[in-house]
Symmetry: C2
């Protein structure tokens, strides 16, 4: 695969040395909302932490348990929603209306954006340079003021076709 995911790899390495730290952060986030950090939820967090890109529901449930059993659908939906509410995960919509989840930036500390392929629906991470991020931050403040809108997050997605789909 030519489209590499450097950020994802960095994150993965980071996490390898600090999975327990991640779990601790998540546990605290959940605790703030009176939620428990159960086996299932830990599993979801680990799956998403190991991924180098936002994952769709089916990718999550299938990869979840051993080779035969899948994660139960209803619990997965429920837990993903709860984890999102507690600020642990972020939900995003790819093309094809496929819903995807990733660890929140608040948790990973790695601000990034998405490359969305309209051909295959693949979504990858990338990051912008410091200057551009700063300029966007300024714009956020201006717009926030001008439109009387409290901006909590900005999304910059580049949409197009990955090298596989371009042919």
């Amino acid at each position: 695969m030519q489209v590499r995911d450097l950020i994802g790899e960095r994150l993965r390495e980071n996490l390898k040395s600090s999975l327990s730290e991640l779990h601790e952060l998540v546990a605290r986030s959940l605790g703030d909302y009176g939620q428990r950090y159960t086996t299932n939820r830990r599993l979801l967090v680990e799956i998403l932490a190991a991924a180098t890109k936002p994952l769709g529901i089916s990718e999550i449930t299938v990869s979840g348990l051993g080779s035969d059993r899948n994660l139960p659908v209803s619990s997965t939906y429920r837990n993903l929603a709860i984890l999102e509410e507690c600020g642990v995960l972020r939900k995003l919509a790819g093309p094809n209306e496929q819903v995807r989840y990733e660890l929140s930036e608040e948790l990973t500390g790695i601000h990034h954006h998405h490359l969305v392929c309209y051909g295959c629906g693949r979504v990858d991470d990338f990051s912008l340079g410091y200057k551009l991020e700063k300029a966007i931050g300024d714009a956020v403040r201006a717009i926030s003021h001008e439109y009387n809108f409290q901006v909590t997050e900005h999304r910059v997605d580049f949409v197009g076709r990955c090298i596989v789909c371009v042919g």
Copy 2:
């Protein structure tokens, strides 16, 4: 409503004086794909041209015909998809996974971005300054090259809460 939509208004005024021009452009786009520009499709285009923001399916079908009758669901979906394929419309996903459509920028000539409210799901248009757009354009080119990805479109959405939902 405090959150005004200046772009939408500008567009609307523009269109008032040139609806026929718009229809001509759409007809040509459809023609290129061997599609007809039927009454139904004209209606969809006019609904979206009159809107000051991307519309969800239900908003489209309900506003479509007289006070009693709604636009038929199946035809609406089909036609929206066709209009999108022909480059007349752009489909985007708000929060709540609600799908929304707007006239393509290629058609309106007005490049803009979106303010997405997580409270009520409302989506409004806004535009960035020239300098920032240029910087983003540069980034697109760099990323395109670095990731071997053909970027055809960039999306900059600011997500948060509108003044109504902030309370």
